[in-house]
Amino acid sequence: MKTVRAGRQLTAWAFLAPYAVAVALLVALPALLNVGYAFTDHTGLTRDPQFVGLANVRWMLADGFLLDSVRASATHVALAVPVRLLAAVGLGLLLAAPRPGGRWFRVAVYLPTVVPDVALAVLFLWVLNPLYGPLNQVLGLFGHPGFTWLSDPTTARVAVVLMLAFPIGEGFVVVLAARRMLDGRLYEAATLEGCGPFGQLRRLTLPLLAPVLVLLAVRDTILTLQVNFVPAYVLTDGRPANATLYLPVYIFDQAFEFSGFAYGALISTVLMAVTAVVVTALLLMVRRWRVLR
């Protein structure tokens, strides 16, 4: 049997090897090079980069703007990831059961995801308009004077999180599909043991979906840290007072606006490292769950 396995393994590796080479050559190597750039004075323009040792690192440690940016990103992840997860999981579970009108509701939840990022940001520019925007109008109905959303660091961050609470269609659909893959018989058993809807959620759905949920959390963390950049860029572009100067925006500005290519490389290396740490922590947390074994 060993030989058979070995043979099958070989075939598998034969499929995997080209990809491994490609990753090594096209991603790992350049990424290393990128790390290398972090210790040069490369500007992305013409000169051959010169090695400058830890100069960039020293500057990074003293860089107050980077600190702002890290703070903005951290707050953003801490707010947006739970909100997005809660929305995706909550809606996914609520809408997994067939109910009249459920189909339309599912479409409605998915819809904002189809709106191009840029368009979404444009929509929100209008939604958040302090005088005519519907958000302040609604607040007005409750007697609240409304906010100048994009002027105050807190409300600006909240506004970005609010905007990103809508394009959650992917997570939503994943939860929907995963929930439907669970064996209905287990729910019947739990029901007969006196487990109401909330008990079922707590004792069956969440534990059984744990791997999927962690996956979503990891994904959303990465997405939020790194990718959800276009809408924020368009909506606030770092304003006010760098409250929404998320790390990717900062990196983009450094590398492309201010010829800080080397510095950009340094920060993105750090960002990658931070992402890796966060993701590893999440995954380690999960290894304790049996379902992922």
Partner: protein, 336 residues
Amino acid sequence: MTGRGAIRLESLTKTYGRTTAVDGMDLDVRAGEMITLVGPSGSGKSTVLRLIAGLDRPDRGRVLVDGRDVALVPPHRRAVAMVFQDYALYPHLTALGNLTFGLRVRRVPRAEADRRARTAAERLGIADLLDRHPDEMSGGQRQRVALARALLREPSVYLLDEPLASLDAPLRLATRADLLALHRELGTTTVHVTHDQAEAMTLGDRVVVLDRGRVRQVGPPQQVYDEPADTFVAGFLGSPPMNLVAGGGTLGGRPDVTLGVRPEDLALDAEGPVEATVEVVEALGSEAVLLTRCPDGTRLTVRTGPRPGVRPGDPVRLRPDPDRVHRFDTATGRRR
């Protein structure tokens, strides 16, 4: 109807697509009674249990528990414990977790829940499996976990769907005795599905014979066995089943009457009135079954002691016990 858990089914009907699983069923189960459902595969036994538990909604008819229609009571508020035919164990929990699940739901403290789970597990011989997950257990072990889980529930109705099917004979015997003792002790109304003749005969106060979603006969087991209401029941209960011979054949009688005689009521007797040839001798250890054929082609099954002393091909004579010959209307199949 004094105790808790009296169940009344009123013209209960459940259809899946084009299949009518339960078809206008009426049934009264007294509080504290243990009743057995038997019937061919697909006759709606599991469906009846699901309807009582509230897992499915009837298309027509009502389920009353203690006289009250429970249509508005969601399943998790019906005090019902069920053993599923396919166990439905929680795959993410160990056996212990499976057993304590319901207790924890009902806020029994962890230590107390564990203690009770251990007691139940010991009773069923699965105490050393408590830290295994369902996919690390054998079929019979899983079934015992499922049974123990239901027994921990303390409901007003037990619904058991073939709870002993995967157990080996000695264990099944022991567990059957356990179930009976428990039922005597607690007096909880129990509806129980089985394919096992011995269980059907011993484990219920009454037995209900189902066929294609309809009740064919209800009564104490021995009575149903001794006086089957129709040829269906006669052919279904008893293994090997009753010999049914259209009237006027080897067993005599009138053409419009079908005569039935159980294999154990046919004795090998050199003076017997029925002449036959042995075709097969099935030695079952504790007894033997002879398949015989009469000159007119009628096959008769005969049950004898373990070593009947006949071999295939031997001519034999058979004597039906005259008190034990059943008469059915050939056209309707009903007893007369």
